[in-house]
């Protein structure tokens, strides 16, 4: 019995008056720490994709299609700029949304259903709000990394002509987190993996990606298709609209 007692004495030295005090104060951070540790397992693919995706998207769409579009649209460009500069910031916001989706969809559902780690967290003195905030914070870290890398690629391609273009980064982070919260709300309510995430991907994220003025100004669409742009979630239009404003400010001051 003496062995048992000494174990207690050891841990007690680190606790305050109440054993939940530290969890109440720092619970969110403990959850974030847990998520970041999990991410470390696939760190190599996070880093590679973060660098690789902007490079190939900017190259294929900005430079490849861009060469056709710029030749076709002549001096006035698309909304007054080269196509690469038009599409670049939109792709950056999209990358933030995609990252948010990855972190807030399957991992959140899995935390309830597969790994059941949320139940474990709740069995320790960490409450539900801390779990949500912790995951969101961890997602935020990943988005910061992804969009920063993306912005560097934009700069390297010459797609961010003014220093104010860097404001695209906080705009993308905000958009990503807002979107992540919505996905998390859905994920936490799913009881079964019935394929809802592929549905969200195909019927919400893809149209949002394609019809929110990302690749072309919405008025380029035939009138009978513009509704697709109008119904695509306001969040996305605002997000991608924000980058337009960032771009305008950027070009205006340039």
């Amino acid at each position: 019995m003496s062995g048992q007692a000494s174990v207690h004495a050891g841990a007690s030295a680190y606790f305050g008056q109440r054993r939940s005090a530290k969890s109440i104060a720092f619970g969110t951070w403990y959850v974030t720490e847990h998520r970041l540790r999990t991410m470390r397992a696939y760190l190599s693919s996070i880093v590679t994709v973060s660098v690789f995706n902007p490079v190939i998207y900017l190259f294929a769409l900005g430079v490849g299609i861009g060469s056709y579009i710029d030749a076709n649209s002549g001096a006035q460009g698309v909304e007054g700029v080269r196509y690469l500069i038009f599409v670049g910031p939109a792709l950056l916001v999209s990358a933030a949304l995609t990252t948010a989706f990855e972190e807030c969809s399957y991992p959140v559902m899995g935390g309830f259903k597969w790994t059941r780690e949320f139940w474990a967290m709740n069995a320790a003195p960490i409450n539900g709000r801390q779990v949500v905030n912790g995951i969101l914070l961890a997602t935020g870290f990943r988005i910061v990394f992804t969009v920063s890398v993306f912005w560097c690629c934009l700069a390297a391609f010459g797609a961010s002509p003014s220093g104010y273009g860097i404001l695209a980064i906080p705009a993308a982070i905000l958009s990503g987190l807002a979107f992540g919260t919505v996905i998390m709300a859905v994920a936490s309510r799913l009881e079964e993996d019935d394929g809802w995430f592929p549905i969200i991907n195909r019927l919400i994220i893809t149209p949002m990606f394609l019809f929110s003025g990302t690749f072309f100004p919405l008025d380029q669409l035939p009138i009978w298709l513009r509704w697709l742009g109008w119904i695509s979630p306001p969040l996305a239009r605002h997000a991608i609209g924000t980058r337009s404003r960032v771009r305008y400010v950027g070009t205006a001051l340039a």
């Binding site: 769409l61 060469s67 056709y68």
Partner: protein, 259 residues
């Protein structure tokens, strides 16, 4: 041969159809929309910015008619890869489904062929639906275009066979990510959105090694009326993919489950 093939791949298809019955219909239907969204956005939206591009016979074609066959080929690839990688990975490593099949008198080739046949069945439905959209938008000027549907199946067969072979060697989800990692640049660079003539000579040769480039050229040739000997080469490319994929998958499954 008797050790690996009982002549009953259709029973594996039957199993898949029973499984399909329990999955929600709107999920299956939603698979049709993705290429259509791309076609509308890029063909009609972006198309006005691009103007017309040069078709395979040197004729000017609308941007929508240029990318539509590429999107058909890409969706055949995506469907095939999804079914033969994620689905197969799950059945192999988590559900232990193949282990149960092997315990019966089925062979490993029955399993590989059955899974692929089912993926092709789904692919056929999607290809027909997409073809209907293409026709209704007037994007198939050539009568040979009707062959685009069997061509899409050939492409799907090639990707399924190779996808399944690769998947059988994977042990973790992280490794599965590398497949997407390879698919995205292939989608973006294989003359999907613009002719590869924008690239310097040596990059063009690299692109011509990619299977998707052959798929896109094959279908584009058919829908835009370039029906010549080059088609044979593209077909041959996929026949080789099918053969190599099937042999590799069967060998690997045999080694895994019958060691």
């Amino acid at each position: 041969m008797r050790q690996i093939y009982a002549g009953r791949p259709h029973t594996v298809v039957l199993r898949a159809l029973y499984a399909l019955k329990t999955s929600a219909w709107f999920i299956v239907v939603s698979g049709f929309f993705e290429p259509v969204f791309y076609l509308l956005a890029f063909g009609l939206g972006l198309g006005t910015l691009v103007g017309s591009v040069t078709g395979p016979l040197g004729q000017p074609v609308s941007y929508a008619a240029f990318i539509a066959p590429a999107l058909l080929a890409t969706s055949a690839m995506n469907g095939a890869i999804y079914d033969s990688t994620w689905n197969v990975f799950f059945k192999m490593r988590f559900a232990r489904l193949y282990e149960g099949m092997i315990a019966t008198s089925l062979g490993t080739l029955d399993i590989a062929l059955g899974e692929i046949m089912y993926a092709l069945l789904r692919g056929l439905v999607y290809a027909l639906a997409f073809m209907a959209v293409m026709l209704s938008l007037g994007l198939v000027p050539s009568v040979w275009g009707i062959l685009a549907v069997p061509a899409a199946l050939l492409i799907a067969f090639g990707f399924s066979a190779c996808g399944m072979a690769l998947t059988s060697y994977m042990t973790t989800f992280q490794q599965m990510d590398w497949i997407n990692f390879f698919m995205l640049p292939m989608f973006l660079f294989s003359a999907t959105f613009y002719p590869i003539t924008v690239y310097p000579e040596y990059i063009r040769w690299i692109i011509k090694l990619f299977p998707l480039w052959h798929g896109i050229e094959l279908i584009r040739g058919l829908t835009l009326g370039q029906f010549d000997v080059s088609i044979l080469w593209h077909v041959l490319y996929f026949v080789v993919m099918i053969a190599v994929g099937l042999i590799a998958t069967t060998r690997r499954l045999t080694n895994l489950f019958m060691k």
